[in-house]
Amino acid sequence: MPGLVWFVIRRLFSALLVMLALSLAVYLVFYAIPTDPALLACGKPCTPDRLEQARHFMQLDQSTMQQYLNFLKGIVAGRSYGEGAAVLHCDAPCFGYSFPLARPVSTLIADRFPVTASIALGAAVLWLVIGVSLGVLAALNRGRLLDRLAVGFALIGVSTPSFLFGLLAILVFGFWLNMVPVNGYVPLTESPVDWAWHLVTPWLVLAVLQASSYIRLTRAQMLEELNLDHITTARAKGAGERRVVVTHGLRGALVPIITLFGLDLGGLLGGAILTEKVFSMQGLGDLLIDSVGNLDVAVVVGVTLFAAFLVILANLVVDIVHGALDPRVSHG
């Protein structure tokens, strides 16, 4: 157990370094773009005087490096913009302040994350179930019709862009068949039924597309697993076919499947950009795209870091789960 604790501490430390480097990179890239965020804040008519004022208030008159250091300092100690009566406080940990949206970045992320999480988690459960069951069935029926169908389905899934598939789904199920709502998000706390009803199409769209890689992975892993000697042992013991396939075969295929699942989910939780756009859901991905358009560097950095943090966290969880699932792996 102490081995595991050290492992986690080491990994979190290196995660911190990665995120520092990442945030710096975002700052540098953003300030290399020859546009001025203060222009948007300055209003019309924008006199040079007012522009200068706005730049000073947003602390854009400082050097890029200085701005980056301010950002880091804000996380630890909080920061404030302007002075006197117009002063704007952002309490620690302050991940920046969005002037266009007039909210601290952390509040924005906290508002938007439940939307993205709802989309991602529901879809993830679906694609895991669909992908793994079809993958197992394909492996068991290798070369036969069911196998061909599953592999064909997987091929369509990987080669269809999600926005196209999403728009088609909206067209067919939303407008033509008028079965499901075409857009919008209802918080789970407000009405669980409406929440699920609004999410069902994006879930299915994402799940069908993502399931492809799970079908292929599960199929390949199962074909390999079912050839192993201990599968023959299970048969020789008198185990029935289902027990052989699930308890002995799938158990061995689980580690790579769970690894892929953790990484996919971690990535998606940082924002399902296209899906959110297509279904008009105000999640993190939607926030990120809007902020890029608004030159809202604080939000871009904040969302990017949050997404990166989720990916790193997913990696860590995957590694820990890997250790728990495979007795031959030990952390130390």
Partner: protein
């Protein structure tokens, strides 16, 4: 001989492969009585493992099995799988050559032995685990109650083979098929495992089919011997028939290839020149003919006519499939 518990008549196994039909086992007969040991010997690829898998009914689906397998007079070939499942691991159990790959890496050894018990007894998991610990203790695993919770990779090769034996014995099978149970082990451990099998046999009257490359072991433990060559029986008889009155040049070759401590070592170990044919590649004549030192003495017949098993002098049913009428003197 007492009434055999397991009888095999004219067993044939053909694999349907991409390269055509492969007759891996081409008509063999054997029988083994309770408490007795039948050894099956022969070079790699002669069909020993395929024969034992055919008896267990655990061959892959591209294999076609013909002939009779009688367990206590009951025909097993053609029995539906759920009937066979009740027999596998319960009446006939298999001990595999490579204990590491035969065990499932994801489950504790106690769980795996308990599973073999639960598959044939309606008992609680706890009771089955207790039974597993009992068996692990019986096969000589020290501190069995604690070690039952360890995983296969945490055991030495010899201890792992004991686990596999415990798993095979947990239901007190009437027939035990051991496919090269000791080849992966060093000599002292080999002797311990063979002793363990002998003890079990004595205690429970288990019939043992021992597949082995090691004629030293065969001489020590077997009652009867079947020598296989290219999927057919080259010779069969009692252990004394084989060691004192071997009638087939191939058996003689095997005996010559065995290092002996009772005679002064020759400068080099005798081996049979050449290598065994792939199954089905020799259509006419004697399959051993290309490697046989006696062909010239017999002449044409070895090339044109396939020798059938014919009686030879000996203790009982000593038979050999060779055109040489009498026992050949050893040529070197």
């Amino acid at each position: 001989m007492a009434d055999p518990i397991l009888e095999v008549h004219d067993l044939r196994v053909t694999f349907d492969t991409e390269g055509g039909l492969v007759p891996a086992v081409d008509g063999i007969d054997f029988a083994v009585a309770p408490g007795k040991t039948l050894a099956i010997v022969g070079e790699s690829g002669s069909g020993k493992s395929v024969s034992s898998a055919a008896v267990m009914g655990i061959l892959p689906s591209n294999a076609e099995v013909k002939g009779e397998v009688l367990l206590d007079g009951r025909e097993l070939v053609g029995l539906p799988d759920d009937e066979l499942r009740k027999i596998r691991g319960n009446d006939i159990a298999l001990v595999f050559q490579d204990a590491l790959s035969a065990l499932n890496p994801y489950y504790t050894v106690g769980w795996q032995v308990a599973e073999a018990y639960r598959l044939h007894h309606a008992v609680s998991k706890k009771a089955a685990f207790k039974r597993a610990v009992e068996l692990l203790d019986k096969v000589g695993i020290p501190d069995a109650a604690r070690r039952a919770k360890s995983y296969p990779h945490e055991f030495s090769g010899g201890m792992r083979q004991r686990v596999v034996i415990a798993m095979a014995l947990v239901n007190n099978p009437r027939v035990l098929i051991a496919d090269e149970p000791t080849t992966a082990l060093d000599v002292t451990v080999q002797a311990q495992i063979m002793q363990l099998l002998a003890d079990v046999q004595e205690e429970f009257g288990t019939a043992l089919v021992l597949i082995s490359h090691d004629l030293g072991v065969v001489a020590e433990v077997a009652d009867d011997v079947l020598v296989m060559y290219a999927g057919r029986a080259a010779e069969r008889g009692t252990v004394r028939d084989l060691f004192y009155r071997a009638a087939h040049p191939y058996s003689l070759g095997l005996l010559g290839a065995m290092p002996r401590i009772d005679v002064p070592p020759k400068p080099r170990l005798t081996t049979i020149p050449g290598s065994p044919p792939s199954p089905g590649s020799i259509k006419t004549g004697c399959p051993f003919q290309p490697r046989c030192a006696y062909t010239e003495r017999v002449g044409e017949r070895c090339i044109t006519e396939r020798p059938e098993l014919t009686p030879r002098p000996g203790e009982g049913d000593h038979e050999a499939a060779c055109h040489l009428g009498r026992r050949p003197e050893v040529v070197s």
